[in-house]
């Protein structure tokens, strides 16, 4: 099956600064992919490259097996909701639907109208008068009504209150179940995405730190606690993602596909949030102030 997103050594540079560097990914279809990283990590750059709003400085990118924004057919296959869900403030809800129908060959008008009714939106209301949650829902309705194979959402829930956030994700997941869409959505908070995603990309400081199916990531990462020891002596199959030590104890987060045999370690599962934080901590330039614990870099 064709990957929804395939990149090889992809990079984007603005002047001297690389917004995205050496990004190599291959995301199989049928996933809801969470793209997570702090603000300024390069998430928007990667998504804009995927929809063809930016062109790469280096490397290659294929979306659904074709170049981003390569002709009308490719544009029709990809739905995109940019950050802050931009709409035409002066146009009414109904105007937005008409506009969508006019621009998109595969437009599903009945479905869009049903959804607007379900949301309880007044069709004559201007987009500028809608609440943040309603604007996000309208933008999502438009993106889904074009019946894309891949839907790309840049920070769709960042500005929403918890209820609007939940409603937005409910609508999104219902559409995924109904239309078998692949989705890539970004957030700086993994907790926003934990319920909805089954694939994760962690992007920090312009570079992909880890990517994979969430279930596999959780199964292969462990927290080890035990008597203090030298990291050099760990088996080669264990990659240390995070390490902290006190004078007598070591606490590690390691990635390994092998069982942990050393009986002096106590082994725990880690949460997705801890996993993401470990990779973020590793990628971020050493912060001088780490309270209390002496930090030994791997």
């Amino acid at each position: 099956m064709t990957a929804v997103l395939e990149t090889k050594g992809l990079g984007k540079r603005y002047g001297r600064r690389w917004a995205l560097r050496d990004c190599t990914l291959e995301i199989p279809p049928g996933h809801v992919v969470g793209l997570v990283g702090p603000n300024g990590a390069g998430k928007t750059t990667l998504l804009n490259l995927a929809v063809g709003l930016l062109s790469p400085t280096s490397g290659d990118i294929l979306v659904l097996g074709d170049r981003p924004a390569h002709g009308a057919a490719q544009l029709a296959r990809v739905g995109f909701v940019a950050q802050e869900t931009p709409l035409y403030a002066g146009l009414s809800v109904a105007d937005h639907l008409r506009f969508g129908a006019w621009l998109n060959p595969s437009w599903d008008q009945p479905q869009a109208e049903d959804r607007i009714d379900q949301l309880g939106l007044d069709r004559t209301q201007r987009a500028g008068e809608l609440s943040g949650g309603q604007r996000a829902q309208l933008a999502l309705t438009l993106a889904i009504a074009k019946r894309p194979e891949l839907l790309i959402l840049d920070e769709p829930v960042a500005s929403l209150d918890p209820l609007a956030r939940r409603e937005f994700l409910q609508h999104l997941m219902e559409s995924v179940a109904e239309h078998e869409l692949s989705v890539v959505l970004s957030s700086h908070l993994v907790s926003d995405l934990e319920r909805v995603c089954d694939y994760l990309i962690v992007l920090v400081s312009s570079q992909v730190q880890v990517a994979g199916e969430i279930e596999e990531l959780l199964a292969s990462h462990h927290r080890l606690t035990g008597p203090r020891r030298d990291l050099e002596r760990l088996p080669a199959s264990q990659e240390v993602i995070e390490a902290s030590h006190t004078d007598r104890q070591s606490t590690l987060i390691v990635r390994t596909d092998q069982p942990i045999l050393d009986p002096t370690w106590s082994v725990e599962q880690i949460s997705l949030e801890d996993l993401v934080l470990a990779y973020m901590g590793r990628a971020a330039p050493t912060r001088a102030t780490r309270p209390a614990l002496l930090r030994v870099e791997p």
């Binding site: 409910q170 997941m173 179940a177 995603c197 089954d198 599962q269």
Partner: protein
Amino acid sequence: MIEFHLDTHSGVAPYLQVVHQVRQALRLGLLSEGDQLPTVKDVVARLAINPNTVLKAYRELEHDGLVAARPGIGTFVTRTLSDASLAAHAGLRRELLRWLAGARRAGLDDESIEALFRDCFRTASAEDVA
């Protein structure tokens, strides 16, 4: 029809939570043979979770012989858990109470009894696996 809920902080995988909730409903008699489980679309629209999570849970229940999927219609309960567990319940309960009384006579406090039970439980599970 039952409704699922999700505790994201429990550390239990979401698909397992769905499996547990179906098994629990079967055990309590809330679901019985022929009842339909909520459709995948309904579950994800309510819980805002990934459809694959629900599919995986339903596949596991199907694998355990508790439900069957009828393509295009839905997923239906094919077996109930309440009878089997209830019938065995009374005898087991009596035995456990007798054992607990014995443990108290031996001078064990609540915490020690729990620790002993958990230790045996783990040993027995490990032997099952081996």
